[in-house]
């Protein structure tokens, strides 16, 4: 078999099932929704198929820009914290003896096999005014603090929800590193830190990027945590989209917001793929 024929066959065998699936069940539905952008909301919801550019002009509004700003801040901080916690965790899991690796890995996702709402309730019990943390602080002669229903609580909730999405790709990236590389570096007199900086980190950049993307994007688009832990007092992009689609039943404008979000995401995704392929 000639190499180029092998390549083409390979491309077909590996790419076509997944891509077909994505085209039918992702692209077609997405284009359907995004095409509403061109039309108008019916008086009582639904879509009236008269072309208009109104949905785009409505996007440029200081109100929505401020929402984007808040979302960037919250999602950015969440991602940073997730990386700071997630990287050492993934790193240590990867060093564990083989039989403990899977256990540690499963332990990262296990809390998420319980229902979302009661996990959020549990956080409320921990953090609220009469809650556990405040009672503990009170025993130490501190507090009570307002730990809940603010942006800090939103970040905490998002971090909690998406931390596994950081740990798992990082683990997959770190686990394949050859320990000999680090040993070689150490033998050559490099400190642990510079070994990390010069050897380990550059080789795990793809995992870092994937993890950051997995945490940043859903944090940016989340709407339940801002409502339940943020007390509904902050609006994120996800809240906007949900409000337009569900409450206002304004699908055309909801689509326009989505289109704007998708545009940002595509830029992020392409940048991610560009950096990952260079690294």
């Amino acid at each position: 078999m000639s190499p180029s024929r092998g390549r083409r066959l390979g491309a077909f065998v590996f790419l076509s099932p997944g891509l077909t699936y994505l085209v039918v069940l992702l692209l077609v539905p997405l284009v359907l929704v995004l095409s509403y952008t061109l039309f108008q909301r019916g008086r009582f919801g639904g879509v009236v198929y008269e072309v208009t550019g109104e949905n785009f002009s409505r996007l440029i509004d200081p109100l929505y820009l401020s929402v984007v700003g808040t979302s960037l801040k919250i999602a950015g901080l969440t991602t940073l914290l997730a990386l700071l916690l997630g990287y050492p965790t993934a790193y240590l899991i990867a060093q564990l003896p083989r039989k403990w690796k899977t256990v540690a890995l499963v332990a990262v996702v296990l809390p998420f096999w319980t229902n979302f709402i009661i996990r959020v309730y549990a956080w409320i019990i921990l953090l609220n005014g009469p809650g556990l943390l405040n009672s503990g602080l009170k025993a130490l002669g501190l507090g009570p603090y307002e730990l809940l229903y603010n942006q800090g609580a939103i970040i905490l909730g998002l971090l909690y929800s998406y931390l596994p999405l950081m740990v798992l790709p990082l683990y997959a990236a770190i686990e394949r590193l050859d320990p000999q590389l680090r040993e070689a570096s150490a033998n050559l007199g490099a400190s642990a830190f510079s070994t990390f900086r010069k050897v380990t980190l550059p080789l795990t950049v793809p995992g870092v990027l994937t993890g950051c993307l997995f945490v940043f994007v859903p944090s940016f688009g989340n709407f339940v945590i801002p409502e339940m832990l943020g007390g509904g007092k902050s609006v994120m992009v996800g809240n906007l989209i949900r409000t337009e689609f569900l409450q206002a039943r304004d699908w055309p404008f909801g689509s326009a917001l989505t289109l704007a979000l998708v545009a940002v995401l595509v830029v992020l995704l392409i940048a991610q793929s560009w950096v990952a392929r260079r690294a």
């Binding site: 919801g45 879509v47 550019g53 609006v235 569900l246 206002a248």
Partner: protein
Amino acid sequence: MFRTRFTRRLPAAIAVAGLALAAAACGGESTNAGAAPAATADQLNPNADLSKQSVNVTVWDGYTPKELPQKVKDKLKFPLKIGIHDTNETAMTKLTAGGDTGIDVAFVSGQYAQALNEQGLLEPIHPELIPNLSNLYPEATQLSYDKGNKYSVPYTWGTTGICYRSDLVKTPPTSWKDLLQPPSWADKKVTMMTTERWLALPALKALGYSVNTDKDAEIAKAKELLVAAKPHLLGYDDTTFGDKLKSGEAVMVEAWDGWCPTTDEKQNIKFAVPKEGSDLWVDTMVIMKSSKNKEAAHALINYILDPEIHSWAAVNINYKVPNKAAMDKVDIAKGSLLDIKPAELLNGESLIDLGQASVKYTRLATEIKAQS
């Protein structure tokens, strides 16, 4: 701005052309357009053989008796299947997306029934197939979103007010201003609702406006009040305010009467309707135009209006039902949530879907919540 009439299939056409995906092309109507409201009624056969039909319902969880499917099977001889939805909003999305959901009867609140009807999605009610309509209070045919119950039948009704911990408030709340400008002992211990129309309600009522106003000046006034209130709130909450009261995180919350947990003896939780007045909400039953089981759907609604069945909601979940024959069967404790007379309820304004003007409320809610 240019506007051109396009066919309903345009989004489909774009999707198909753009992706050259023939599979998507075969398919019928895409979504509902702003179709003509008040569609004509089907001819229904009063003597149809119901045992050949079956009815699919979507309703809030725990809102109808558990044994209802079995009872319907025994009494009316057709299978009844119950699906559940969490909120009006998600139910609406499913019902209006254009596909055949297979749903025959839906439970949604009044203004949502109105919007469904405006979109041409509802079958008009055939009163001759629902003799039990006569059990309803006369007031229950005067609901402003649907006068005369032309396309919806009320299932439960009530109002919005202030739900509070009588042991933790210094003085019981009597006015919407108690929520909007809470006294110092209630500072940061108050919640308001997050859904736009109910978020605006306390301010609109405190200012003496209609809850259905579409006047920009009035909405702007309300916004001022709501923005000033925000720093004094614990949060905006539509779902767990009852829990917040029980835990003592909150002492006063804006609440629908049915969601205010007054039945728990230990908790000292009470409900008050502020003196400025409030709304009248109604949860209704509607029949979908797309239903192929309309005779059975009518028979089901008729059966639910039977006092025996309808009183279940009052006895078991503490919701007032607009059914005189049913309420007469219920022991109503004085001062309980059930002890509000239909005439008093009718003093409340029903929220109606404002059509184009509803955009103003969406924006209002976003502005207030995004305010830092």
